[in-house]
């Protein structure tokens, strides 16, 4: 199984976001979702909402997120370059910033509200995301019914537009959604917003079993997941798990409680290590 953590860009600042990406990569997570702060995030619970509000309070701009992510993917933030960049630059010189050898960056996926994409222009946004080194987009308020145009643009640029399926999605809708899906399927575990929950509903397991018969795309489960024990419940049913609020909460402590950046990174690192161990155990 894959472990796919979510972090908020720019909370408390983009330098920390860059460190977080590198920290998570060092724990060998399989994919990182990077949330673009939005003023009116209706799918998000209080923890992620608050992180967005903090980031926007410092006047964070979309292009700054792209630039910061580009620095990481281009290997300018103290970690190894991704394979492709490395190959092309290998002839010139060996990386001067060779710190301890670290695994290549996992794919980065932008989690972004359609309001932001529309305002910049879909084409410009997709190009910006590609240039920054993103591998895909998740647009939580763009249902498949409205996603055709954006899906064409992303696939033309070699990016995946990830589709979401909710507990309330009917079988007929699911079949329509799968027609435009790419990358993986984001399975929302419970009706509601993001945030830590104790239990995963039984209906989720039934839905995952049925989904497996409908698509070859990997199934990633998100909303409400925070602990390795929950991974065991999903083993054999899902191909990945997403953890957001539990990580964002550790990072929030920097701004809210004055916790040192390194301390917060340590907490995130430990959480990621636990989840990576649990997810990679028998898959």
């Amino acid at each position: 199984m894959a472990f796919m953590p979510f972090i908020t860009a720019g909370d408390p600042d983009l330098a920390t976001t860059q460190k977080l990406i590198n920290t998570l990569a060092a724990q060998q997570v399989d994919l990182i979702e990077i949330g673009f702060p939005y003023s009116d995030p209706i799918a998000d619970g209080p923890v992620i909402q608050a992180s967005y509000t903090r980031a926007l309070g410092k006047h964070l701009h979309v292009n700054e997120i792209f630039a910061a992510v580009r620095e990481v993917t281009a290997g300018k933030t103290g970690r190894q370059r991704d394979k492709e960049t490395e190959r092309s630059s290998a002839a010139k010189s060996s990386p001067s910033l060779s710190v301890s050898p670290s695994p290549p960056l996992p794919p980065l996926v932008a989690m972004v509200a359609y309001a932001i994409i529309f305002r910049m222009g879909s084409e410009a946004f997709v190009r910006g995301a590609r240039d920054a080194g993103f591998a895909g987009l998740i647009v939580p308020d763009l249902p498949a019914d409205e996603a055709q145009d954006l899906a064409r643009l992303t696939s033309a640029q070699g990016l995946d537009l990830v589709q979401l399926i909710a507990p309330t999605t009917t079988e007929a809708r699911t079949k329509r959604i799968l027609e435009t899906a790419a990358g993986f399927i984001y399975c929302i575990s419970v009706a509601g917003t993001t945030g830590v929950r104790d239990q995963l509903p039984d209906e989720l397991k039934q839905q995952l079993k049925w989904l497996k018969t409908q698509t070859d795309l990997p199934l990633a489960v998100g909303f409400g997941i925070s602990r390795p024990e929950q991974v065991d419940e999903l083993r054999g049913l899902a191909d990945g798990v997403i953890v957001g609020s539990a990580i964002v909460k550790h990072v929030a402590a920097i701004a809210e409680q004055g916790v040192a950046v390194e301390t917060a990174l340590g907490h995130v690192s430990k959480l990621a290590a636990g989840m990576v161990t649990a997810t990679h155990k028998s898959s």
Partner: protein
């Protein structure tokens, strides 16, 4: 227009046959919501279509309008206001005389009835000034439905009277502490509640905003305003009015007032937007006059946002117009040129509030005062035999503390 040979409207003319099945008013509207809500919106669209074709539902709603709300609301000739302006005759459509004191009750009752049809046992709503919250709490008390109203902490402070009324009627008022702590955040919070409760809960949205079918449905429930006005004009003055004026925040009273006149080419339609205290971002809420096309609260319409798509803060002396978006049908009417929208400043609205009180003995809501102000200008520039109708969407009792505060008085 003979039914056998319908006139083909020019390309740019607004049609009353909107939205289409996907919720499009021209290019505007549609659905931009999390997947979790999509099935509920599809169900709601189907159920609403059924009730539209169901004479029993319509009869029930009409009986409520007549015996509970007190409809039809009068169309009143404002003689002294007309004399002051020295131009066209000004008539007021008295939605302020409805039960609960505003037009909001029309939609709240319609959607509460729909909630019963869908066999959902709980209602949620958002409110800014509290008028929609009071209307929803009222409808829920009438039908015995549990009701939760989301209201920004800042608005709770400004609108204590309405909070007290809602609670007295048995509604739970939940303070919203996120973001700007006003109407916009109350809508976000109601949507979040609905995401988790959609199986047994109906969200009675208060304006012609949000994802399809809400803008259409709220317009239809409010269209009683325009239908009555049209009929009353024919009866009282023997013809249609020359101009109809209404205020536009989210745009529910104006949508209900304008819609039945959309295909009457001789009737000029004018919307009064909250011009606030200036033109800078954060000083007004004139979405159609100064906004850009974008996405907010599940639909594509004009919005006030920055160059990154982040919603901007807005201001209006009137809490009910203090909203950074507008219903998609208004955007359609703006772009087709069917309705003209003009900003009216806080000061002009306050002036109209006092004028109507002094000259007619009617205390208008600050929202409606924006329309009264614009109607005075419209009437002044017109001939005496012409007629301007204003939608007086609500009464001003709720605003007396705010008006006193602005004037430096305490009550």
């Amino acid at each position: 227009m003979s039914p056998s040979a319908p006139a083909v409207p020019p390309q740019s003319a607004a049609s009353a046959q909107v939205p289409d099945a996907a919720g499009r008013f021209g290019e505007f509207g549609r659905r931009f919501v999390p997947e979790t809500l999509m099935h509920a919106l599809e169900q709601l669209t189907e159920e609403y279509a059924r009730t539209q074709a169901d004479p029993q539902f319509q009869a029930e709603l009409n009986a409520l309008f007549k015996y509970y709300v007190g409809r039809p609301s009068p169309l009143y000739f404002a003689r002294r206001l007309t004399e002051k302006c020295g131009g066209a005759r000004i008539h007021l459509k008295r939605e302020d005389l409805n039960h609960t004191g505003a037009h909001k009750i029309n939609n709240a009752l319609g959607q509460a009835l729909l909630t019963l049809r869908m066999k959902k046992g709980r209602v949620i709503a958002e409110t800014g000034a509290g008028q929609h919250g009071v209307a929803t709490a009222t409808a829920c008390a009438h039908f015995g439905l549990p009701c939760v109203v989301y209201m920004g902490e800042e608005d709770i402070r400004r609108q204590k009277l309405n909070v007290f009324i809602m609670r007295t009627m048995g509604a739970e008022v939940r303070p919203v502490t996120s973001g700007s702590r006003t109407l916009r955040d109350a809508i976000n919070e109601a949507m979040r509640d609905w995401m988790a409760s959609v199986a047994d809960t109906h969200y009675i949205i208060g304006s012609v905003v949000g994802p399809h079918p809400f803008p259409m449905m709220v317009r239809d429930f409010q269209a009683i305003i325009g239908r009555e006005t049209r009929q009353q004009c024919l009866e009282q003055i023997g013809r249609l009015p020359d101009e109809v004026v209404a205020c536009v925040g989210g745009g529910s009273n104006s949508a209900g007032m304008f819609y039945p006149f959309v295909e009457d080419a001789s009737v000029k339609l004018t919307g009064a937007e909250p011009g606030g205290k200036g033109l800078k971002p954060g000083e007004h809420a004139s979405t159609l006059s100064y906004g850009v096309k974008g996405v907010l609260h599940g639909s594509y319409s004009y919005v006030l946002q920055d160059s990154d798509g982040q919603t901007q803060d807005v201001h209006s002396v009137s809490a009910g117009l203090d909203y950074p978006g507008v219903g998609p049908e208004h955007s359609y009417w703006k772009d087709t040129g069917r309705v003209q929208y003009h900003p009216v400043s806080d000061a002009e609205a306050l002036d109209a509030f006092h004028t109507l009180a002094r000259l007619e003995g009617i205390l208008p809501a600050l929202e409606s005062s924006h329309a009264v102000s614009l109607a005075q200008k419209a009437a002044s520039g017109r001939k005496k035999e012409e007629v301007v109708v204003v939608c007086l969407s609500g009464r001003g009792d709720k605003d007396v503390y705010e008006v006193a505060r602005v004037q430096g008085q305490t009550i």
